[in-house]
Structures are given as structure tokens and as C-alpha cells.
Amino acid sequence: MNKFISSIHDYFSPDLSWIPQQTIPQVTHVEKPLSHLLSGKLFLPYELPEESLSFINAHFTKVPAIEKHWWGYRCRRCGNQKKYLFAYMPCGDQGKKCLYCRKCIVMGRVSECTPLYLFVPSVQWEKVKEACVWKGRLTSFQADAAEKINEVMAKGSARLLVWAVCGAGKTEMIFPGLATAFAQGKRVCLATPRTDVVRELLPRFESAFPNVKIQALFGDSPVKQADAQFILATTHQLLRFARAFDVMVIDEVDAFPYHADVSLPFATRRAAKETAGIIYLTATPRPKQLKEIDSKKLPTVFVPRRFHGHPLPVPSFVGCFNLRSSLKQERLPEKVKAWLDKRGVVTRQLLIFVPTISDAALVERLLHATFSSITAVHASDPDRKEKIELFRNKVYEVLVTTTILERGVTFPSVDVIILDSGHTVFDQAALVQIAGRAGRSPTDPHGEVVFFHQGKTDAMEGAVEMIKRMNKRGRKIVDALH
């Protein structure tokens, strides 16, 4: 009976005891770089460096890649336990069939007959004294969070959620903690859902931590090896690690695909050492995280103010009851037209969010007469990068976009409107993020945010409530300071 209960428990919370315990490595000085390169990672047989076979034979543990349970299978690399993401394929000439995992196949196929090789020593990484050369100053809001982050990173064996509004300056908040971690000789990973963010963060960290070896890992990154003390990676890259990091920072923990995909929480847990300090960053927690915050299961620190000290712009709602039918007849809804007329000539650029790709093309066309420099982007637009860059350089006055620009990208001075904000693609988190695109610059902290809708949704009201709550929290702290 106990066995049954434990196997049920394992179904929901995968057992990781197959990972060998951390050992004090008996590696020679010559082998040290090799242990930096190979430790804390999962390898397929053909990925093992041939020239290091004697080292591998001496130190590596070989484990089956797929676990068999009474309820089904689990892939040890990606945590997949969905039946439809496993399949059989022929194996050898004897007509034998082998089960393989389809979920993580882009990282090389793991099957019943391909073992995973791993090596989990407690490798000593360099103790870098005073690693942070950043000379900026944290706001009092940032400083409070930075102190708590520092504590978790220094002590380990703890988790902390940092709930920081869009534009709070979260990267700088982790600097002091990182400095402490590097001074202690810890290995750190910052994982974020999007490749663009990895690319953008690398130079910022390189200039703040010039004496720490940093590598960026993403789908087609030039660096593949990952032997640096500080790894910046897309969340998917975590599938390659096991018990590798003393400190993990999970950026945008609420963002797709992290919250939709069991692989990523699984891989995060495995990539972290058991004694790791884990920091989650978010501007828009999901209901699951809110529950953990409310029940005090997940220690949380709030950063309710942007780094420039101004509150978040609160979206206003404009109901237009013929919104869909107008667009269908290829007309701009009257209320939208009126708002644009009233807006008149302003220096701010305009960011327009729409639910679908076809809407983006349509709205671009409809506004062409009004704005001479306008363009539209969507996820599979091949010119997406260039268009965003041109908008940032103010070559375009107006950018029409699907939800792809809801996060990450910042433009200093924009008004933001959504057409059809009641559409299901705009969930509460998306709406808060979209509203968060406005007012990012200290020189123009008050962008306008308007949701044009054809009926208010819970998501819209929830978003406004979340924004007001953070502004209120910020106000209180500001008042207390004076």
C-alpha cells in the first residue's frame, strides 16, 4: 500500500533519486577543466567527448533514460509522461521495438536502449571577489528586494518569488546577490523563456561582471559547451542539466512556455542542486503562484514601483459595441477613430495590439491614410526583428502587433491601445504586460493605455485591479518614507 501511495506521489512529483549523489571528486589538476565541462549535465552516448573516455569511465554514472511505471512512462531528460508523446521504433535487425521520447527529440533521441550518462561532483568554481563593477544605484524599492535576493543566493536551500512590476529594473536587483554568490564560488544559471532576452542580457552581465566567465545558451547559440560559472539560457536549455547550479534565477516564471509545460519545472528542479537558492521573477503571477503567495508557501518580495518612481499607467476601458462588425466590414470602429482624432498630434509613438494576424494586417491597412509611417508584425513575420528595430528608432510612428510584443520589448515613449481586449488571447497576465509597455522612460513616465472592447471580461477587470493594487502598495511605501 505504501508503495502504491509513493508511486502516486511520484506521478505528480517526480522522484529524482536516480541522479547520483554529489561526491567530492578525486580529479587531478589536469582533469579540472574537464570536470567543469562535464559536471552537472546529461549526455547521450554519442555526445560524450571521445578523447575523455577514460575520465568518463572513471567518473560517470549510466542510467536508463526512460522510467517504466504502472501508470506509464517518464522521460528522465524532459519529464514527459504523456502517452502520446512516446512512440515505438524498430531497434536493431531482430525486429525488436524500442520506446523513445518524442517530446525532447530535438535535443537528440532518448530511448529505452540509449542510457543517459551523468557526472555530479561538487566541483569548486572560482571564488571571484568583488565581481560586480556596476556603479549604478538601486532605488529603495529595488534595494529592499535586492537584499532578500542576496540572502537566498548566499544561504541556499530556499526559494523566493520577486513580484516586480514591468519596468521595475529587475536585472539590477539581482546584481548584489550574484556578487555574493560568485564570491562564494557558486555556479549560477539565469533562465528565461525567450532567446531575445538571453541575447540582450549577455552584454549587460558581461559589463557588470567582467571577471566572471559567462556563456549564453539558446537553440542555435554559437556556444554549446556550457563550462562557464554563469550560464544565461533559454528555459529549454535546462533539459541538459542535472544538479548543476547553486543559484538559479527563473525569469518570467509565469510566461509561456514555462507555465504550460511540465518539462520546464521538472528540468528546473533537476538542474538546481538540492541545496540551491532559487529566485523566481515575475510581473504577473499566475493563479497557481498567487495561491502559493497567499498561503505563504512561497516567500515573496514585492517591487511595486518602477525604477523611475512613477506609478503604472492604469488602463481605461472604451466599449464599442460594433467593434467586430466594423472590422469585418473593413471599417475602423467609430470610438477608435474618435480617440485617435482627440489624441491629435503627440510626440509619443503608438503601439496597437490586436488578437490575430489577419486583424494586424487589416488595421495596418485601415490606418494607412491616417498615419504615413505604420507597419504590422506577428510571430512568423520574417521581418519582425527589423520592423521592431525601426519602430524603436522612430522610423515608424505606429506599430500594429499581435501578442508577441506583450513582453520584454521596451520602447521609451508610447501610447498603448488594444483593439478587442476581450478576446481570449488577452488573458489577465497578457493585459498587465501590455499595459506595462507604456510609460517606461523617466522622461515620459505617463503613457496612455486604452482597452477598446466589446464587453468587459474578468481578465480585463483583473488586470486593472492588479495594476491598481501594485500602485497602492507603492504609494504606501512612498508615503511611509516621507
Binding site: 512512440a87 521504433m89 524498430p90 523513445y100 518524442r102 527529440i105 530535438v106 533521441r109
Partner: protein
């Protein structure tokens, strides 16, 4: 049911003909299927290359027209990003199951063109090293979807690495195959892609020399 390509849930079409034969149902959702480009007339009657008029293409003319050792090639799709992605995951990443994306269309096209030939299917073989690397031969998977006997009558004696050679070098290159058993019935050579037609004709020439009267080809993609 989950689409085997995008993994999204979709409603499968059920007809009387496949009600009790779940294997005969198309396991691909419409979204994924609509991203593939089916070859449409007019095409070269010999090799299926898209044409302005249904005339013999220049390549096929240079293969000798009526004296061409290949009777005919039928392809199903033209090359685009969507099919490239699927082939990449199937053949190179090794997601064996994805071959089933093509099962339904392959069987349909076979019935339309080759049903009454009483032929056997011969997959274009992989070299030993490639086979070991990938674990399966994509051409064999495709041949396995046809309701006719499959014969392993060819082996590859040279490796597949030919992409760096020029086209003429490839055409005049040595035959990379060897015939390992005799065949008397008509033959349908099966492969995933028809590019210059050289590979198929290398295989066809061995079969012709060994006395096979008719050699056809069935390929997924005409690039």
C-alpha cells in the same frame, strides 16, 4: 486524438471505411495538413515536376525520353518550409512516428497511379553508418505504408555524402548501389525526395540490367 505533428488535440474524420480501422485514419490535423503543398497539374508526365504545360521537362528529355530507364516518378508534395520541418524532425532528429504524417497520402496516391501494376516496393537503402546513426530508413518506412510486398533488393556501397559535388559529377558518379537479389515483377522504387532523379535512376539501371521490365518511382517530395 492528438495530431502527431503539432500534438494539438483535433477531431479525426471517421468514415465507414475506417470506422473499425483506426490505423487508416489520418493522424494529422487539418492545420498541419493545410501547410503542405500538394503538387498539382500541369506537371512533367515523367517526373512530376511542376510545369506550365504537361510536357516532358528538359531534365527528362536529357534522360532519354522514351528510352529513359525509369518509367515514371510520382511525387506528392512540393518542397516548402512546413514539409522541410517535418522531414527534419522525422529523418534527421529521428522521430520515427512522424512518418505516419505521410501514410494516408502515400496510400491514396499509390492507389490512384500504381494500384494495378502488381509491383513490389523497393526502398532506396541507407548506408550502414547512416542506418546506425538514425536507427531507421525513412524510405523503408514509406514503402511499409503501401499494401504491396516490400523487397530489400538493394544495398548502398557508397555513402550518401554527395551534396558538395556538382550536379554533373553526381550524374556521372559511380552507381552507389548493388543489387543483392533478383526481382521479376515490376518495381516501385520508394524514397522521400526526388531532386535530380539521379539516385532513383542509379537504382533503376541495376534493376533493368537484371531484367526487370518496368521500374517506377514513388517519392514524397518533388523538389
Amino acid at each position: 486524438m492528438h495530431c502527431i505533428n503539432c500534438h494539438e488535440v483535433f477531431m479525426q474524420q471517421t468514415f465507414w471505411s475506417n470506422l473499425f480501422l483506426p490505423d487508416k485514419r489520418n493522424p494529422v490535423c487539418d492545420d498541419c495538413r493545410n501547410k503542405l503543398i500538394f503538387l498539382t497539374e500541369p506537371v512533367c508526365p515523367k517526373c512530376c515536376r511542376p510545369m506550365d504545360k504537361p510536357d516532358l521537362c528538359l531534365d527528362c528529355q536529357s534522360w532519354g525520353g522514351n528510352s529513359d530507364i525509369l518509367n515514371k516518378n510520382i511525387s506528392i508534395f512540393s518542397y516548402n518550409q512546413a514539409i522541410k520541418d517535418i522531414i527534419n524532425r522525422w529523418k534527421y532528429r529521428g522521430d520515427y512516428l512522424l512518418g505516419k504524417v505521410f501514410q494516408y497520402e502515400l496510400a491514396r496516391v499509390f492507389n490512384q497511379h500504381y494500384k494495378n501494376l502488381e509491383a513490389v516496393a523497393i526502398p532506396i537503402p541507407l548506408s550502414k553508418e547512416r542506418m546506425l546513426e538514425r536507427g531507421f530508413n525513412q524510405a523503408e518506412s514509406l514503402a511499409g505504408f503501401l499494401d504491396i510486398p516490400m523487397v530489400h533488393a538493394l544495398t548502398r556501397i557508397h555513402s550518401e555524402k554527395q551534396s558538395k559535388k556538382s550536379r554533373t559529377e553526381r550524374v556521372t558518379a559511380q552507381n552507389p548501389f548493388r543489387l543483392t537479389r533478383s526481382v521479376i515483377s515490376p518495381v516501385i522504387l520508394v524514397d522521400d525526395i526526388y531532386t535530380t532523379g539521379t539516385t532513383i535512376r542509379h537504382a533503376a539501371s541495376l534493376l533493368k540490367e537484371a531484367g526487370v521490365k518496368e521500374v517506377y518511382a514513388l517519392t514524397l517530395i518533388r523538389s
